[in-house]
Amino acid sequence: MTGYIVPAILILATALALHKKEDAYGLLVTGAADGLKLLLSIIPTLVILLTAVTMLRSSGGIEHLSRWLSPVFRLFSIPPETAMLVLIRPFSGSAALAVGAELMATYGVDSQIGRTAAVMLGSTETTFYTVSVYFGAAGIQRTRYTIPAALIADLTGFVMSSLTVRLLFP
């Protein structure tokens, strides 16, 4: 089923664009160029952070970390192996990408942990970055309850990622 969602979206978008007399092909190409620029901008961070994560993994540091944190993670029924990802996600998007990619490679893309990491990456945002960009631009000093509420959303995301993967991929 999911194999047809993506082509269906592609066909729908192209047909709609042609209906509106837009140059669908030209738009695809311009957008693709933007994608390449975006990728180029994250490569340096990806290299530096994957170096750090690989060191942490091969020294056994990640295992220590997830062992210490596992009681808390079990409480929320989040796999403790994803501890690093959960901790870094609200602070840095590219660091989370590096940690998540490393998790998927270590445990396998179609494993429970690999899938949970992927869903976590796809359904949460770099909370503190977003908060600082928006409040910085709007000149807000007193953020009131924004951060606690945003962290509730993040926690829900992490718990639901683990839950949906367990239910949809038994």
Binding site: G3, L16, K20, T54, S58, M104, L121, A153
Partner: protein, 193 residues
């Protein structure tokens, strides 16, 4: 500066765990391997990142953004009462949400910032209003149609069906956005100052 400290802590923590481990560990090799992994990952992701960024632009110009804005209007009026009387705010907000939905993060931020500026209270310009808090929470919950970057990583790692996580991603982000906004609403009711 925060990342510099995280970096240092990670390095020290790795060295300490390496020293106290029962295995002999070659951290030098790990460093060389890790940096190369960054490049391999980036090259492997390049194809899908380009394609989906193109599709996002296409969907935006094909009028999907306008259609979505129409569908979102009733919900938008409930979450952000200001949009009922301010058409410019409504336009910026729905453009922000739609661009995020289509994965055009770079296009979404400027419109979101414009909306945020219109939501400030002129009497207390430095304090976040209730609506502004809800806008940030909605933006941090990340509702996305196609999580392209993650799918790119998955296919680079040899996944046969990189998009099979779509339903899980949709359900998860709807729940976190819903609960986040509800939480913001409830806290906003009791929060004075």
């Amino acid at each position: 500066m925060l990342m510099a400290w995280i970096w240092l802590v990670v390095l020290l923590f790795s060295v300490i765990s390496g020293i106290f481990s029962e295995r002999t560990i070659d951290l030098g090799a790990a460093i060389a391997e890790g940096s190369q992994k960054g490049i391999s990952l980036a090259i492997g992701m390049a194809g899908s990142m380009c394609l989906w960024s193109g599709v996002g632009t296409l969907m935006d110009r094909a009028g999907l953004t306008g259609l979505l804005a129409k569908l979102l209007r009733p919900l938008l009026h409930r979450i952000f009462p200001g949009t009922r009387t301010d058409p410019a705010l409504e336009r910026d907000l729905s453009a922000n949400i739609c661009a995020n939905f289509l994965g055009l993060g770079n296009a979404a931020t400027p419109m979101g910032i414009r909306a945020a500026k219109r939501m400030t209270d002129p009497r207390q310009p430095q304090t976040a209003t209730d609506q502004l808090c809800r806008l940030i929470v909605l933006n941090t919950a990340s509702i996305q149609l196609i999580p392209a970057t993650v799918a790119a990583i998955r296919s680079q790692l040899g996944c046969a069906a990189p998009f099979d996580i779509l339903p899980a991603v949709w359900i998860t982000s709807l729940c976190s956005a819903g609960l986040g906004v509800t939480a913001a609403w409830c806290i906003g009711k009791v929060w004075r100052t």
